[in-house]
Amino acid sequence: MAEILVVGYGNDLRSDDSAGRIVASRIEAMALPRVVVRSQSQLTPELALDITRADLVVFVDADVDCERMTVQPVQTDPPGSQSMSHHTDPATLLLLAEDLGRVPPDAYVVSIPASNLELGFELSRRTAAATEEAVAAIVGIVEQSQDD
């Protein structure tokens, strides 16, 4: 049975930027069946291998450009930056997974509003609230996927 992959990423020393990783750790603590969680400082190319083994991928990241927590399908057309340094983006990873042989039918990006990216461990109030919403949204996505 293929996996459900949840990838939370961000710098966990940069205040609100850690939101994706906090969500990842919350999801991991729930030990949901078939759910594999990755917590990373950034998206790296070998994640494409994990993606080829998944039926559903959920990327979770802090976003200074969003006003509220959102869940959106990963858009691969246009195909993201297609650029890669030591790290990459969700769309590029999906295309890489496709080149490696298999891309999951469903992939989402959960964006959490962020405003403070200075060095520190505390989330701002809005980011903290959105983090809770993100956890609930991901649990909903996972349950829906397992019902299908």
Binding site: N11, D12, L13, S39, Q40, S41, Q42, T44, P45, E46, A48, L49, S81, Q82, S83, M84, S85, H86, H87, L95, L96, D99, L100, L119
Partner: protein
Amino acid sequence: METLPALPVRTSGLAEEDRTVKNMVVIDPVTRIEGHAKITIALDDSGSVSDCRFHVTEFRGFEEFCKGRPVWEMPSLTARTCGICPVSHLLASAKAGDAIMGVKIPDTAVKLRRIVNLGQIIQSHALSFFHLSAPDLLLGLDSDPAARNVFGLMAEEPELARRGIMLRSFGQGVIESIAGRKVHSPGILPGGIAEQMTEETRERLIEGLVEARKTAEDALVLFTGMLDTFDREVRAFGSFPSLYLGLANDDGLWEHYDGYLKVVDAGGKTVADGVAPADYRSIIGEAGRRDSYLKSPYFKPNVGPDDDPLDGMYRVGPLARLNVCERMGVPAADEALTEYRERAGGVASSSFFYHYARLIEILAATERMANHLADDTVTGPHVRAYAGVNQHHAVGVSEAPRGTLFHEYHVDDHGVLTDVNMIIATGQNNLPMNETVLQIAKEWIDGPSIPEGILNRIEAGIRAYDPCLSCSTHAIGMMPLVVSLVAADGEVLSEVRRG
């Protein structure tokens, strides 16, 4: 720290602090490296290149942030310096912690730390070669920039690209198996390692080494087969005499974790040897420039009070390590090193050979790792020593994929840090990176019209060092490219963007 004068700059988007400038070409930012940087090329009145600077434009200030933290927390904290090579910081920090405690860690812990570092070298070099530089090398430096990336590589060389990802994944798996997590691993601590290795892990890693080694061997064959087609790049991508610094041991073998500091010159003559890591300040000075957040370390014995730090320019990383060692100490990599030195004519002085050296190091890492894993004591239970604060000052050094990494800590009686200094590999390559850009620009640029392929060569010259600016300046980012050609009066004559 000394402050060197900035290259005069006057272009749109750049500081207007100096109005004496000549024509400028600006590459901002540089692509397929880690962090934010730009390149400024100054043209004289005849349109010929007169000077170049590689600027690092982001600042993170990790050293200040660490003050006031307990030393026990430092491996985990400093690993956040970089999401790319966190193991290197973990090791240097843990070794500084070992010295603060005044302990000799168990032999099994040393072996496990060595295995983790070898995994780190494999995964980092794999990304640098297969995904960041292979598009240039295999698709061509003048090929369509829209396809000169990992997807273009997937289309042209799908098996190579796939195996590159698998190799990186193997290296990451080694880190995760021993240190607990791929990124910001919690398992490496002052005093040793958190958990012993299981037999199951050991067997899994031995199994994975088979394909990893085959990939390294095949990549070496591929690279050496095409090396002759890059003759001009070999001659002009940072091909100049410099010093080379790296860790060394009494057996003359390639070293990546322990030992002492050794420096050789362009002729292979040893100019410093047996320098204890704690005495690094006796041979390394640090200068700064107004136009970059990247420090410029230099070899102190070569630089008098009134001299240019350039007189003490040295390189670190794969190229330097292979120049510093006598042998790799494992058969296949030793054979590869012999051919490498024949092709280089002895000491390798072209930064284009960084790619070649990386592949030899990947091969050596697989062989060394196999040797460690064949040792039954690697799964032994005694992996950690315990002690309190017994020293107030310590230096931890290890070889990161990009070069020698220094963590220097001062602590109080409670182990709280009162001062921190980090010297990062990319910083040590700052002076040679500047010289490399200058050499490439002088070789290819003639007048204000600069084809994209030439700009890519300038970037590729930087990419040869695989700089990690996140570490060296403590910044993080990803870069599109903007190149501006600006006349002496500040008018932008042309501009190229990508990304």
